[in-house]
């Protein structure tokens, strides 16, 4: 037998290496990488032109390390106070443009009203996939409800095909469909989407829906005693039947109409589940369902995968304002940015301009309601095999801060809270892991820390209003 000497294999290896080296030389910046084959979680962004442009690709999905904390242990990993933060986390308070601490006064007054008048304080918490599935908002809600009272998960879409909430279990007939501005685009752009930026409809004459709050929830999150349903009925009279484990079936007769209507019902006792049956309401647009307490803090999780926070002004029908009138929010939180960072641009001023337009739209729709911008979180990507932070993170963060200043909004510097640009590596290396292996999304444990940071900053703002000498956090 003829032996094949090792040096011949070596020469073949060299030949292959040379070809690969040549390819890499001609391929700076992954020019020949077929984007569609890269997992969605690592896609780079494209352009970001408002309106008619394709939406910025979402860094979506939830990539985690197997060793991450399971859902059932979430309660245990929520830090009780800032002394339990890892070293690289830098807790901070709310930033006010031009030092104007009055920005949050309406929110703070509303919080104080909970104790004085037994009123509600509602926070509309908008965000991208970073808050999907109630990941961060659940802990913000839990913290604020434990501080000021309140229970229930707040406003929900009636159908969620993209993700499943960690707080709720939905069971529904299969004829539901959800429309929104991004993932399941609405059939007609002339129809409003309300404050949820989405609506659900069903096909056929009947549909049903059961919701139960998951047992892993904290006590407050597991119960509600008030139900709201906001919808546009459409033509024809319909019926909605609702019941819980401890109440008899009740009915709402829904008259026909093209205006937004709200049905509200307070249960005599606390509930943890609900069943709804819809009859002859095939044309109705279900804008949202809220499970809440009649008093205390409510935090609505309004997550939109792929969003950069630029969809609010698409509503030309006034549905946002009308629905907000029903809900009477006291604070709007905007947590966006991870879909902007990967865009190949050196100047994100255009994003600031668009975001400012959106904020002004919100200020027109819900005048007097303060807005808190939560800055972009740190994130990275793999460059030639090495986890590398996006240089644009700091730019986007600064643009968001400047937009807050221009629009008179409050700002929470999440990037600084995390430890600054490049800190995503420490979040990934932490035990339990705080950032997922897509270098972008927080793990449940990481989300709990972020939520704690934001909630503490808000609590600090309230406490500071009581005692101006207090530094807030």
């Amino acid at each position: 037998m003829n032996n094949f000497p090792p040096y011949k294999i070596f020469l073949s290896f060299v030949l292959v290496f040379l070809c690969v080296a040549l390819f890499l030389l001609l391929n700076p910046g992954d020019k020949y990488r077929i984007k569609v084959l890269v997992p969605e979680t690592t896609k780079e962004g494209g352009g970001l032109i408002k309106g008619r442009s394709p939406r910025p690709p979402e860094i979506s999905g939830v990539i985690v390390h197997p060793a991450d904390e399971p859902v059932t242990r979430l309660e245990k990993i929520t830090p009780a106070d800032q002394s339990e933060y890892p070293d690289f986390i830098s807790p901070r308070g709310i930033e006010y443009p031009n030092g104007d601490e009055n920005i949050l006064i309406p929110f703070i007054e509303s919080i104080k009203g909970i104790e004085k008048e037994g009123s509600q304080t509602r926070i509309l918490y908008f965000g991208d996939s970073q808050i999907e599935g109630d990941r961060i908002t659940k802990f913000v809600r839990k913290r604020l409800q434990s501080e000021y009272g309140g229970s229930g998960p707040g406003m929900l879409p009636l159908m969620e095909p993209v993700y499943v909430s960690i707080s709720l279990e939905f069971q529904q007939s299969s004829n539901w469909k959800k429309y929104d501005y991004l993932v399941n685009q609405q059939p007609s752009s002339t129809q409003g989407m309300g404050t949820m930026l989405s609506y659900s409809v069903y096909e056929g004459s009947e549909a049903n829906l059961s919701i139960s709050l998951k047992e892993e929830q904290d006590i407050a999150g597991r119960y509600f005693n008030c139900l709201r349903l906001i919808l546009i009925p459409g033509s024809g009279e319909g019926v909605i039947r609702y019941s819980s484990s401890s109440t008899a079936i009740r009915e709402w007769i829904v008259p026909s109409g093209s205006e937004l209507v709200q049905f509200q019902f307070s249960f005599p006792s606390i509930q943890s589940e609900l069943r709804l049956e819809f009859d002859n309401l095939a044309g109705a647009k279900m804008m949202g369902l809220s499970l809440e307490s009649t008093t205390g803090v409510l935090v609505d999780n309004i997550a939109h995968r792929g969003s950069a926070g630029l969809e609010f002004s698409r509503d030309g029908t006034g549905s946002f304002r009308e629905m907000a009138n029903f809900l009477d929010p006291d604070l709007v939180v905007l947590q966006f940015g991870i879909n902007v960072v990967p865009a190949k641009s050196n100047d994100f001023a255009y994003y600031g301009a668009y975001l400012a337009e959106e904020i002004r739209f919100l200020q027109e729709q819900i005048p007097g309601v303060p807005i808190l911008i939560v800055g972009v979180s740190d994130m990275g990507q793999l460059v030639k095999g090495i986890p590398t932070g996006y240089l644009s993170v700091e730019k986007v963060n600064e643009v968001q801060r400047e937009t807050a200043r221009q629009t008179g909004s409050a700002f929470f510097d999440l990037l600084a809270f995390m430890g600054g640009a490049g800190s995503f590596k420490e979040w990934m290396d932490a035990e339990p892991i705080l950032m997922r292996r897509d270098f972008t999304h927080f793990s449940h444990a990481g989300g709990a820390y972020v939520a704690e940071g934001i909630a503490q900053a808000l609590i600090g703002a309230v406490e500071r209003s009581n005692n101006p000498e207090d530094n807030g956090i």
Binding site: P39, I63, V64, G133, E169, S174
Partner: protein, 505 residues
């Protein structure tokens, strides 16, 4: 840009040397270049490969290569002592010493936390794990090492089993002890199979140490084919599915529909098989390029017609090790039905525990043990029936696969609650209305799954035909194919290099 050569020469905990890292293939090229100087003389060849193997282990696991040297020296000496002992008692004594050292190393590094937690839980006392080596170093050398953490050395489960099999084989007189420490060190540490097997028996490998280098051109391309296949299995399929589907669903199953949960369970069956068999294919290919033959570790396991058949096809080197060094010594099936059942259960429980210091691996072993017992009962009752019909063959394959699949759910889920949540999501929140939407927007995952199961079910003769076709192509075409495969793998490379699953065991 400054090129920092030193960075690539020293161990980096963040970037250990895996088969999937470019640095490994550079390392292998240099090994082959200098191998040309030594390959004709077995003594020099073995010494050279021992040296590069130690360096490889240093690059993969850091300073734990010192422990590998310690383990090698101990078993080398004890192997000689066992052989030289005049009495059975003496032979037994040296064998016990070998078992004590090897199992001691494995137990200390791998199971300390497990047993400490177990004792703490059982007796309600608070015991902390202490790294005695770090403690001793701190006391004697004034170092400041963390004494509360014990790190699992990479590959320790594999090479300790390999050395245990050696001393037992010497004790049983199945092999003669290796006289030369270099040859023995090379047998223990041969780098292609050092960190994740296959667990090579002395009888199969040691004779090769004394044979002349023999490698045909066909074998070279056979090896290249195996390496390419292994890389495709690992990077293109296993890592992609893990990052884009499996990890996220297994972390938080209630955040996904029942369909995604079900899909991720099937995907994990693909991932673990392609990950481990991919590693083995690369290991066999690399060893072959150096002129050594390693045994196969997988033989189309998902085509098995029964659980017994599955264990003859899955991780063959481990299952045969457990059979020869645990099940049979316990008494095998020679001591009545009840004892046989007990031997089987103990073997499977310990086999499960070998995979990791966690109750879920014990449960997984128990699950397989119970199924094997039930299967024996069932087979003994249907012994006279004809099982050769095609539909029966396929039915038994599908049934076996799904039993294995349920086992993987236990194996992968971090806790029974996670496994339960996944199953309950499948039955209570399947999300049938969103299936089409999911498939449309996740066509790569679905495509990979379909191709993977097609390959898994492909008859061996077709695979052989494809390999044969590749081997006889002209040189330029084979190089072109290799480049195309590298290009495709590059397209699928994900955000982070994921270690092979079995590196953790």
């Amino acid at each position: 840009m400054e090129f920092d050569l030193w960075k690539y020469l020293v161990f980096s905990p963040d970037e250990p040397m895996y088969f999937t890292s470019a640095i490994f293939w550079g390392f292998l090229s240099l090994v082959l270049l200098f191998y040309s100087l030594f390959y004709k003389k077995p003594i020099l060849r073995n010494a050279y490969l021992l040296l590069v193997s130690m360096y490889f282990y240093y690059q993969a696991g850091g300073w734990f290569f010192l422990m590998l040297i310690f383990s090698t020296l101990v078993d080398y000496i004890l192997g000689l002592r066992i052989h030289a002992a005049k009495t059975n008692r003496g032979r037994k004594l040296f064998l016990m010493a070998s078992l004590l050292v090897n199992i001691g190393i494995l137990g200390y590094f791998k199971y300390s936390y497990f047993f400490v937690d177990l004792i703490s839980g059982l007796f309600g006392i608070d015991i902390q794990v202490t790294n005695v080596f770090a403690h001793l170093l701190n006391r004697t050398a004034g170092t400041d090492l963390d004494i509360h953490t014990i790190i699992l050395p990479v590959g320790v489960s594999f090479y300790t089993f390999q050395t245990i099999s050696y001393t037992i084989d010497v004790y049983r007189k199945h092999v003669k002890p290796v006289r030369n420490i270099i040859d023995f060190g090379f047998y223990v540490s041969f780098f292609p199979q050092l960190v994740a097997g296959p667990i090579v028996r002395a009888a199969a490998f040691i004779p090769q140490l004394y044979q002349k280098y023999s490698l045909s051109e066909r074998q070279v391309w056979h090896a290249v084919f195996l390496i390419m296949g292994g890389l495709v299995k690992k990077i293109l399929v296993a890592d992609y599915l893990a990052v884009d589907l499996i990890d996220k669903v297994f972390e938080s199953p209630l955040s996904f529909t029942g369909f995604e949960n079900l899909l991720s369970i099937y995907a994990y069956a693909v991932q673990i098989y392609f990950d481990f068999s991919g590693y083995t294919d690369i290991a066999i290919g690399v060893a072959l390029l150096l002129g050594f033959k390693l045994p196969i570790n997988f033989n189309a396991p998902y085509q098995a017609r029964s659980l017994t058949d599955f264990w003859r096809r899955w991780h063959i080197s481990l299952s045969s090790w457990l059979r020869d060094y645990l099940y049979i010594p316990l008494g095998g099936n020679r001591k009545g039905k009840i004892r046989t059942a007990m031997h089987l259960l103990v073997t499977m429980l310990l086999g499960g525990l070998w995979h990791g210091a966690h109750w879920r691996f014990v449960l997984w072993g128990f699950y397989h043990g119970m199924l094997l017992l039930l299967e024996r009962l069932f087979i003994s009752r249907t012994a006279g029936l004809d099982h050769s019909h095609a539909w029966k063959i396929w039915l038994s394959r599908i049934l076996t696969f799904h039993l294995v699949l349920a086992g993987w759910l236990i194996f992968r889920a971090e806790s029974p609650l996670i496994a339960w949540n996944m199953v309950s999501q499948v039955f209570s929140h399947f999300g049938g209305g969103a299936v089409l939407q999911y498939i449309q927007s996740n066509s790569i995952i679905i495509g990979l799954m379909v191709i993977s199961f097609f390959l898994i079910g492909m008859p061996a003769r077709i695979k052989e035909t494809i390999r044969g076709w590749f081997i006889i192509r002209p040189y330029w075409l084979k190089i072109l194919i290799v480049l195309v495969v590298i290009f495709i793998v590059y397209q699928f490379q994900i955000s982070e290099q994921k270690p092979f699953i079995y590196f953790r065991f």
